[in-house]
Amino acid sequence: MKARTLWRHFRESLKSLGRNGWMTFASASAVTVTLLLVGVFVLIMMNLNKVADDLENDVEIKVFVSLVADENQIVELENDIGNMPGVDTVDFSTKEDELTSLVMDFGDELSLFEQSNPLFDVFYVKASEPQQTEVVASEIIQLENIEDVKYGEGKIEKLFNVLNTGRNVGLVLILALLFTAMFLISNTIRITIVARRREIEIMKLVGATNWFVRIPFILEGMWLGILGSIVPIALVATLYYNVTNFAEPRLSGEMIQLLEFSPFIYQVSALILVMGVFIGIWGSFMSIRKFLRV
């Protein structure tokens, strides 16, 4: 397409936005509400995913060594576990170490147990892939001189179930909103088309191509989408800026971290913009198809 033609289409589409001021406002607002919810949803979901990842990485297998095992057997056990496929690290902690950390966590009353330590010697095993934790654990328990094996059994699964349900509910909600926004945009475009029916008729009579007739309306839809995405981008960015500022000092040194403001917020902004443009273009396509059939 020639640059001159494109310029003409740009002018026409912008003029039309101004002419249907209130409809422009209404459809852009619908897009704004939709995209705002999409933005907040994406912020929450992505961060929950990150948290789940962090927690997953934190999963250790705690291997209790049988009391009957002697020192040599313990060394052998450590080698056996260390050589298993899918095992990343193995740390040994004697029952004295265990008690010390218990005392540190729960207080001096527990130091009574120093006379007769009821704890076990323990291996802390980390799988190289969090998903393999379960497999590794089931292999370890088959070794000799193992009293018991414990890991985040079920907790992680529960967390993922919650995450998945939340994600599905959110997606359905957002899809419904997307359709509403598209419907409103297609209505706006329809009004524009009706207002310019005579012009379109003449265009077609003198031999304008269908694309020539369509493009201004598609551009108009695109503007509506872009207009509608400005406020959500600004709000979501401000919101997340404050959230990260609030959370960062409080979470420092913790296993769980939020996603960094940059580049995450730029990705989210780009997503919001792209969705706005998509909603706009798709909305106008829907009404053009009905009206401009050759």
Binding site: K2, R4, T5, R8, R198, E199, E201, I202, M203, K204, L205, V206, G207, A208, T209, N210, F212, V294
Partner: protein, 228 residues
Amino acid sequence: MIEMKKVYKKYPNGIVALNGLDVEIKQGEFVYIVGPSGAGKSTFIKMMYREERPTSGQMVVDGINLATLKNKKVPLLRRSIGVVFQDFKLLPRLNVYENVAFALEVIEQKPAAIREQVENVLDLVGLKHKARMFPTELSGGEQQRVSIARSIVNTPKVVIADEPTGNLDPETAWDIMHLFEQINAKGTTILMATHNREIVNTMRHRVIAIEGGLIVRDVAGGDYGYEG
């Protein structure tokens, strides 16, 4: 220029508008299409610029086979055909110059070429001095001149006019007819559907009478043939 063979048109509501119509019109001819209302005149005219497509039959306009023409190619056909209507179909928010230039802008002509062609054609229809006026400020005859200017600005080989004098007083109608003759004299084929007996009987040209979807009379230099 225009060739129709056994053209048959049946609308979805069951009405047969053209019932196996044959006709040949040569380049440079001036043809009146006459006949009672509902006889198929409008369908005949609309088929020329592919507003309607034949249900069956052969039809060629300016070397383009309309029976097989794809929708995508319709714009190309329309660029070689000028169309004039009873109700002018001008855009009220554009002035005279812009209304005529519009036809060239939407087919993506160069601005310099557009300026030259529009000025020439406005000169031809005698409205150069009113180029900056808007349609509502013009008389009916002047508006029809603008619409004729728009139809010929792209120098089409054929101009199709559907009752171009229908909304005009007799005197103005004659002015418009003289304009059509002038255009015809330059070699442009003119195809005009009309109910104006006086014009057909005075300004003699080929007359094709359509009734019941068929040509019932085709006479060079014929008369209108219907009562007032």
